[in-house]
């Protein structure tokens, strides 16, 4: 589990950020991993629609620039999906997933805190790097258009 935050998944798809959704988009994760990732993004952002877009960008990142650390991130997703009593993480409601992620962030278990931080940081960096989120922050944006 070491080196997990190195997988923190900064949005790195660069100019392609936002993605076209075409068949050419590279993929790093399997369908169940994507389901976990989407739920983790939803829990981090408390927004299911934003989670879909964010998870897709992270998937593309880990398939390309972040390929070296994709196995670590996949391990984090597996622990998140299966690492607690009850249902799989991807099957929790948005509220339940957010509560679970927050509980992990506060956990006495270091690995849980590490996973919660990595997933949350990745989701938030990716989502708030997107231009459509800036108006809500009153961020006036780059000088270079």
């Amino acid at each position: 589990m070491t080196g997990l935050l190195a997988t923190a998944g900064w949005q790195v798809w660069g100019k392609a950020a936002g993605g076209s959704g075409s068949g050419q988009v590279p993929r790093a994760f399997s369908p169940w991993q994507m389901a976990t990732l989407e739920r983790a993004c939803a829990a981090s952002l408390e927004d299911a629609d934003a989670a879909v877009v964010t998870a897709r960008e992270l998937d593309a990142h880990f398939a390309t620039t972040g390929a070296e650390v994709a196995p670590d991130f996949a391990l984090a997703l597996a622990v998140m999906e299966f690492g607690h009593a009850g249902r799989r993480f991807s099957r929790l409601s948005l509220d339940e997933a957010a509560e679970t992620l927050d509980a992990w962030a506060r956990s006495k278990v270091g690995v849980r805190r590490q996973i919660a931080k990595a997933l949350r940081d990745a989701a938030r960096f990716t989502w708030f790097g997107r231009e459509e989120t800036w108006a809500a922050l009153d961020y006036d944006g780059p000088w270079i258009r």
Binding site: T2, G3, T7, W10, G14, L45, G110
Partner: protein, 483 residues
Amino acid sequence: MSNPRSGRFEDVVIGSGAGGAVIAARLAEAGRSVVLLEEGPRVGRADFNQREGAMYSLLYRDAGGQATADGAISVMQGRCLGGSTTINMGDVVPMETAVLQHWRHHFGWSDWGGITDDDVHRAAQRAKTDIGASRITDAEVNTNNGLLRDGAKKLGIAGQPLEHNRTGCVGSGYCLIGCAYDAKKGTHLSYVPRFEAAGGEVWCDARVDRVEHGAAGVVVSGVAVRVEAERVFVCAGTIHTPGILERSGLGGGQVGRNLSLQPQGPVLAVFPHKVDLHRGIPQSFGVDGPLEVSVERGLGGFTIEGVAGGPAMTASLVPLPMRELKPLLGLYRQSAAALCLVPDRPSGRVVWSKGRPKIHYAPTAEYTARLREALKMGARCYLEAGASAVRIPVVHGKEIRSEKDIASIDDLPLRSCDLSMISAHPQGTCRMGPDGAVGMDFKLKGTDNVYVCDASLFPTTSSTHTMVPVMTMAHLLAGQLGA
């Protein structure tokens, strides 16, 4: 993938940051044939689009995600032409004489080939001149840093504008993701052009995996690159220099040890008016905490400096549930931020596994105690300047609205991953000295033609900001080699 490149030179330098670019320029200007290898891309102002996502990917190691093995501390490092000097805050802070004396007395630097403290001072001055260093004027201190200054002044705490290496700064605020106006004079705009003008070759996208050495010279090889040379200068930084050496079977058991990260902890504040921390020079004023510099202890205490991040960095820095974070983000333009820079003692190690570094680091209890004091002072400064609320971005953190609330910082758990922490000044791992991996002649012990020149050399933390100390070492090495 780059086309395979190979060649024979007199010298090969690995890394184009504060160490590599300086030694490369000095060697080339002395008439040597030199190739400078940079793992990252060749970048310039046209590439810097001021978007965090794209720029962290383009310019940073692991797209900004390099971190300690426990995930607690982001270890920021440039991976592009100019290395970290392309993406740093541009702070110019030479090492103090007392730090050097600390190393002379406690780490065997007393006999340093005749290099005196004055020589070190002159080398630092030379570096400062080369990168256009100057003191930030009062008028250039942005609102965020000005609030920190004003609060400190009301509390009777000293401080001053920092020195920096910008000329013609337009105040866009995007220093951390590449200056699109060529104001900040990182090595990509200072030493690398000099190097190329002197006939040196720069090969970017050239990752080095191994160094082999023998009496006849060295062979440096990696992804689509192979160079034969008389000498090699390994300047890949505190985290990756030991990796190259370990992969090459060089340096012995001391390589990778004695890591300092000098982690920085943030303080956030909200004001009833606009601050626009993302505009102007992001790190322009330093509040003097009880920064201690002594021959006995080296560098200790702490200092507090303004800082800025774009929306993405800011949002990822605060580990609160979204329902608590969202109202804070809505006040982005009324927000202020500072980093508490707390020098540490070496307490970490870098090891290499499956081609990647694992950065093992645990802050000491003594460090954490000083960090708490720094966080409290930062909170006091912002409250005194009129902040309506202050937040330490920690999982269990509550709003701080009064001096009474500040005491709660003593109770914050500050376990691994509780607080968002950043390291921009990793040091150590290839310590220079009688007990270290590198001799006082900068040569890796057991070799005659493998030199190390970056922050990995420092026995303890050299300064609060390492760019100029590393450049200083490179100038001293060049002097030793007659360049």
